[in-house]
């Protein structure tokens, strides 16, 4: 009886609260419109272009004002950090929404937060050149007390599993032969975050390697075990680039723990060494690997070759092990930053040709002073840069890909470039998935996930075959940085496997533990949508005429928001003479290109009008 009463009461409270929140939202929406109406043209544009307006009703007027001031004071890039999390409680949908709009609009910034990670994505489009730049920055804040298995100092695999609810697939399938040992060998990984950063680069390689030769993987795992069961680093490095990451790892942790510049330099030097080795091996592999199936054999010597440095690295790595375990208590923990930077650039035809013929150029350099390592590779007109820097305790990983493409937005992709870009984006995004995977599963180490049987379903049908020629280049470019190009060079067999693996990671992502998880999904699932006419760019929208609402206007209601115009409202007039609130129609036109009333194409008629 009493409980029933309280239940009723609870329900009543709930609906009351709901009503209240709706009322609040209504107030905020009205405030929003007022705010937008009172903005002058320049401010409105500024806010819209930086995606600061958000959703009516979600943010308060004060927040809008604050954003406006902030954006006026400085470039949006700086704002992101403070803004982060405030703008929208991020979830997969949010970022997908954003991505949907990004494809049409020009410059946007979006940020969000989940758990102890926060992300910020920036997209910039140059409508004239068609250059497109997309960068995603992930910040992992350790101090946010997302309970980490490491912090609990709980070495058992179960403890790590508890953290990986989302990764249940891997957990269920992972108990392969090598896993338990892996987990035990890494019970005290310094933090998941540290690993994560490197895993961006190293994980894919491992996956590929694994997929290509499961045998080999097992062997390697066994070797590792026998070599130094307590050394986590030996798990990770596999090729030169993996050494890089592992060294990064050593480096940072050692530096962090002891501040020993000597160690740091030592490591960096060895990095350089490895890079050279990598370069040479890459060339060799690239030449030979044109026949697909040799891939396995070729990569085997590579492994051996690079396992030597691994062994060399063991001592610092062991140090790491101990410092790692004490690290949770260490003060001044640093949030690593991971920056992925995608640039799609338009390249002159000649330029493209030339690069294409050269096919593969690689150079790597390492700069000891500011501890920045940059790798660049060029191949088939694709240019990929991977750089890592550590400054003031913040490690930054930047991976830049430049793709020659005539025009990536607005006019639609050409078949091949579209596929190439999709492939690449998929890689990036899947990279994030893997990254995320490591966020949660870092103490299972690289060999954690096992190729996933459900992959095939996730893989889009057209991905594999149609992208062969260009896709190879694209494929190679991320691979190059990390794997020395051998994977890119090898033909469809191994690559398909690796694709499948990527699909597998997508499957992890479906469980959605981080916002960008669904990114991969987004790009996968939206592949067939690429024929969709996009919305207008902001320049195109801005070219449409606007005016202020006056008393003697005939049509008095904006049909988007069904609100009557009031004097001083800014209206935008489409070529078909239909008018709307500026902020209402802009939003629609950023994703669509027709008039909401008459469905006439805004752009076509605009052109016609301009002719007349």
């Amino acid at each position: 009886m009493e409980s029933a009463d309280s239940n009723d009461k609870g329900n009543a409270d709930q609906s009351e609260a709901q009503r209240q929140s709706q009322l609040d939202r209504l107030d905020r929406e009205e405030a929003f419109y007022q705010f937008v109406n009172n903005l002058n043209e320049e401010d409105y544009r500024l806010m819209r272009d930086n995606n600061l307006l958000g959703t009516p009703g979600e943010i308060t007027e004060e927040e809008l004002l604050r954003r406006l001031q902030r954006i006026k004071e400085g470039p949006p890039q700086q704002n992101g950090d403070e803004n982060r999390g405030a703008e929208d409680p991020s979830n997969g949908d949010a970022i997908i929404d954003w991505l949907n709009s990004v494809r049409q609009t020009g410059n946007t910034t979006r940020s969000g937060q989940r758990g102890n990670q926060s992300w910020r994505a920036v997209s910039r489009t140059n409508p004239n050149s068609g250059d497109f730049r997309f960068s995603l920055e992930i910040n992992v804040n350790r101090s946010n007390a997302n309970p980490n298995p490491e912090h609990e100092n709980e070495p058992s695999p179960e403890a790590s599993n508890a953290e990986d609810i989302e990764n249940s697939q891997s957990d269920t399938e992972a108990p392969g032969s090598d896993l338990p040992s892996t987990r035990q060998s890494r019970p005290e990984m310094p933090t998941s975050e540290e690993l994560v950063a490197e895993e961006v680069s190293s994980f894919r390689g491992q996956r590929r390697a694994r997929s290509r030769s499961p045998e080999q993987r097992r062997t390697r795992a066994r070797t590792d075990r026998s070599r130094s069961p307590l050394n986590p680093v030996t798990e990770t490095p596999r090729r030169a680039h993996h050494n890089i990451s592992s060294q990064t790892f050593d480096n940072s942790v050692v530096g962090e723990a002891e501040g020993s510049s000597r160690t740091r330099q030592h490591v960096t030097q060895s990095q350089t060494l490895h890079n050279e080795a990598e370069g040479s091996s890459r060339t060799r592999q690239h030449v030979t690997l044109r026949q697909q199936m040799t891939g396995t054999e070729i990569s085997t010597p590579t492994t051996i070759q690079f396992s030597a440095p691994e062994a060399r690295n063991s001592p610092p790595a062991t140090t790491l092990e101990t410092t790692g375990s004490s690290e949770p208590a260490a003060p001044g923990q640093r949030p690593p930053t991971i920056v992925l930077d995608l640039q799609v650039r338009r390249v002159r035809p000649g330029e493209y040709r030339q690069r294409d013929s050269i096919a593969n150029r690689t150079r790597s350099r390492s700069q000891t002073p500011n501890n920045t390592v940059t790798y660049e590779s060029e191949r088939g007109g694709l240019r990929r840069t991977f750089s890592r820097s550590e400054q003031a305790g913040v490690r930054t990983y930047v991976s830049t890909i430049r793709i020659p493409i005539r025009r990536i937005l607005n006019t639609g992709f050409s078949e091949t470039t579209s596929v190439a870009i999709q492939t690449m984006l998929r890689q990036i995004m899947t990279g994030f998935g893997e990254l995320n995977y490591f966020l949660y599963d870092s103490d299972t180490g690289g060999p954690g996930p096992v190729p996933n049987p459900t992959v095939e379903a996730v893989e889009p049908p057209n991905g594999g075959s149609s992208s062969s020629s260009i896709g190879e280049g694209t494929e190679a470019s991320p691979g190059e940085v990390y794997e020395g190009g051998n994977v890119g060079g090898s033909a469809s067999g191994p690559r398909r496997e690796s694709r499948n693996n990527r699909g597998g990671s997508v499957t992890f992502e479906e469980s959605g533990s981080l916002p960008f998880l669904s990114l991969a999904q987004f790009f996968l699932l939206n592949e067939d949508d690429d024929d969709q006419p996009r919305g207008l760019t902001k320049e195109q929208i801005d070219n449409l005429s606007t005016r202020l609402f006056g008393e003697n206007d005939a049509l008095k209601t904006c049909s988007v928001c069904i609100t009557e115009y009031t004097e001083g409202n800014k209206l935008r007039k489409l070529p078909c003479s239909h008018e709307y609130h500026v902020h209402c129609i802009d939003r629609w036109l950023s994703e669509n290109s027709t008039c909401p009333i008459c469905r006439r194409a805004v752009l076509a008629s605009a052109n016609r009008e301009s002719v007349v």
Binding site: S15, Q18, R19, Q22, R25, L26, E29, E30, Y33, T55, P56, G57, D93, D97, Q532, P533, S559, V560, C561, I562, T563, C584, R587, W588, E591, N592, T594, C595, P596, I597, R599
Partner: protein, 197 residues
């Protein structure tokens, strides 16, 4: 979105000047979950039927169409056994024709129109569509039967001839009716060229 304020206005309009044969109201006091009823128009096999619909407003409404489906089973070429409706304005361009100047009222009116004039060339239920095209009498008979069985309220159908199915379930917003419908439709094959995301 302009969601809440716009919705408020729409609901006000719906309550003050509803389109003929259509009612729409808030469900559970929620803003984004509405229920609607469409009366079957005269001279259609759905005459005298009261069809309940669920209207969910997505977060991005009105930049995204409302998600509408029938809760009452209906025998119709463009409405599948789960109540999903194949109608262009319920989808975003370019595949669909949704636009923010449409609203719940116009969409429900369109659905009413669709009920009166099925579009067999864009079928959701292939067999019903074939029946509609080539065997209109059977279609009409079946549709009427379904209407009587599922959409006609018991107490107000004094004049309704009772075939075997006059154990009307009233307005089947209740889950059991849903279940029943799903079971009953198990035999019908569903073909969905008309894909709703």
């Amino acid at each position: 979105m302009q969601k809440i304020s716009r919705l408020k206005r729409e609901l006000h309009l719906l309550s003050t000047e509803p389109p003929p044969g259509i009612t729409c109201w808030q469900h559970d006091n929620r803003m984004d979950d509405l229920r609607a009823q469409i009366l079957g128009s005269a001279d259609t096999p759905y005459e005298k039927g009261i069809f309940s619909l669920e209207v969910i407003l997505p977060e991005r409404y009105p930049f995204e169409p409302p998600k509408i489906r029938f809760l009452t089973p209906i025998y119709h070429p463009n409405i599948d056994s789960a109540g999903r409706i194949c109608l262009d304005i319920l989808k975003l361009p370019p595949k669909g024709a949704w636009r923010p100047s449409l609203n719940i009222s116009t969409v429900l009116t369109s659905i009413q129109l669709l009920m009166a004039e099925p579009n067999p060339d864009d079928p959701l239920m292939a067999d019903i569509s074939l029946e509609f095209k080539y065997n209109k009498q059977t279609f009409l008979k079946n549709a009427r039967k379904w209407t009587e069985k599922h959409a006609v309220q018991k107490d107000e159908n004094s004049g309704t001839p009772s075939t075997e199915g006059s154990l009307a379930e009233g307005i089947s917003t209740d889950p059991t009716a849903m279940q029943k419908r799903k079971q009953g439709d198990g035999s019908r094959k569903m073909k969905r060229p008309c894909f709703r995301p």
